[in-house]
Assembly symmetry: C2
Homo-oligomer: 301 residues x 2
């Protein structure tokens, strides 16, 4: 039987387990795409926030592309478009790097891809990408979770050697339902309870119900690590480890919240059969057949 | 027919109307219970936040009483206890000043009642009081509203000569669903659309559906005024005008949020027949027969 060092959704009791993998897989060096302080902060906290990384014309191009994608919907794969549970508003467009050249260029920009290569110490490929849009007034919360828990259970990602980047396409304020993280929580794996239902992704992209950490585990993590809410202008970049506990509250403000989201996985960490699901999720959620190592790209987006 | 200078729930079209009443009804003087700066800030913003007003043994007594009330439930009027929609957890205990001597003493403390007398320029009475508890993990949002809109429509409060005070009984952090206010919004009355259903209060105390401002009005207020989130430790006091637009987001953090809440109304502004409802709400929500002017109380709580 295949070894599973991060068992989850297999026991009746939740359990906290120490992480078995490094967070930063390279030695820092003077030519690294992050400073020594940034690298250490990421290692310690499991996330790094770079305010205002994209600005001016570059940002304008990304905002225009985001707007075009959300408003036309034309030519998009229907299954890649996820609507808000109550209102029907578009909440996410998956497979973004295969449906938009502008976004593909963004994700292979060295400010993103080169940082991912450095932190993961390997060639990288895009495991998942999407455009997220949380509307104002009635935007729903997204509950606490570790992405790795899902990717391990449902996609068969073997080790914690992946990370996410979220490029803000609207201002993130404290009041418009921004992403909240528990700094340092990436060092603990929360084994969750409950088997994965068949075709779980069809509902879990709207509201996750399996792989949810229990209240006691969340309380322990909170008491140890607290909660931080990185906020900043459109064009800021949030980088976070695959196992960092995160979630977002409702958005009752009139200000929507949007970001372009990409998951880089180490080439050596490509997905296998799911560790806790009967069937793998489709390609548009978790690249498998289509995985290709990103080429080093030095030109700006 | 009785004059209604703040018509609401009567037209098919929402409308923004300029406030016709002062916010501060006294001239400031050197013996006033607020400084000149505090008074001007309240007049301009429609709220005033006093961090750490209660501390030490005083605060401890209030926290212990809050805990006792929520845990025993014994001897409380059943209709005064409101449970969270999904979980059944206690969300509010109304008629607090008639069910707890400690809380009655708090509300008549000069740091609260004397400030209310000064700002409203009149004797005051308690229109409503309650203990609020928003649990962690799955605490629901409370959508934007002006309290006056409801008090006018459903309780028959004639003029904007009332204010609320919320004494924090837990720390208010940015991440645990704290009250959000639109500073300056108290100068605009948002006429809402839709008739008041019979016995509306039975559901509206959990989730308000009538008297809700429309998206366009909220967007206009937001663009003019923005949103502020007063945060601070348990023992802080938030004072806000009856017409200040406010709401709170969900609370997915493990940290619950609780406060003791009291509405002071000017004695000269006592409630009449409702302006937009068939029947007045019961006494435990809106004092009518039981209204009594608060005695000046100089001893600390």
């Amino acid at each position: 039987m295949r070894e599973d060092i991060y068992p989850t959704r297999k026991s009746d009791e939740p359990r906290l387990q120490k992480r078995e993998d490094p967070t930063v897989w390279s030695e820092w060096h003077a030519d690294a795409p992050l400073s020594r302080e940034q690298t250490e902060s990421y290692r310690k906290n499991g996330f790094l926030f770079l305010p205002g990384l994209f600005q001016g014309q570059e940002l304008h191009t990304l905002l225009a592309e985001s707007s075009r994608l959300r408003s036309s919907g034309q030519g998009l794969e229907p299954e890649s478009v996820i609507a808000e549970k109550d209102s029907g508003d578009i909440r996410s467009i998956f497979n973004l790097h295969r449906q938009s050249e502008t976004m593909a260029r963004l994700f292979s920009d060295r400010r993103l891809a080169e940082v991912a290569r450095f932190l993961l110490g390997d060639d990288v490929y895009i495991h998942q990408s999407r455009l997220n849009y949380k509307p104002g007034f009635r935007g729903q919360p997204f509950y606490w979770h570790s992405d790795f828990e899902t990717w391990h259970a449902e996609d068969g990602m073997p080790r914690m050697r992946a990370l996410s980047m979220s490029l803000l396409l609207t201002d993130n304020k404290g009041f418009n339902g921004p992403l909240m993280v528990m700094p340092g929580s990436h060092e603990t794996f929360v084994q969750t309870v409950g088997e994965t239902p068949d075709d779980n992704y069809k509902s879990s992209l709207r509201e996750q119900k399996t792989g949810i950490p229990d209240n006691d585990s969340l309380t322990k993590l909170y008491e140890t690590h607290g909660i931080e809410t990185p906020v900043g202008p459109a064009g800021s970049l949030l980088i976070f480890d695959c196992n960092t506990m995160h979630g977002s509250s409702a958005n009752i403000s009139p200000l929507p919240r949007s970001n372009a989201f990409v998951v880089f996985n180490a080439w050596s960490n490509r997905v296998q059969a799911p560790f806790a699901a009967a069937k793998a999720r489709p390609e548009f959620i978790a690249a498998r057949e289509n995985a290709q190592p990103l080429k080093a790209e030095l030109a700006p987006a």
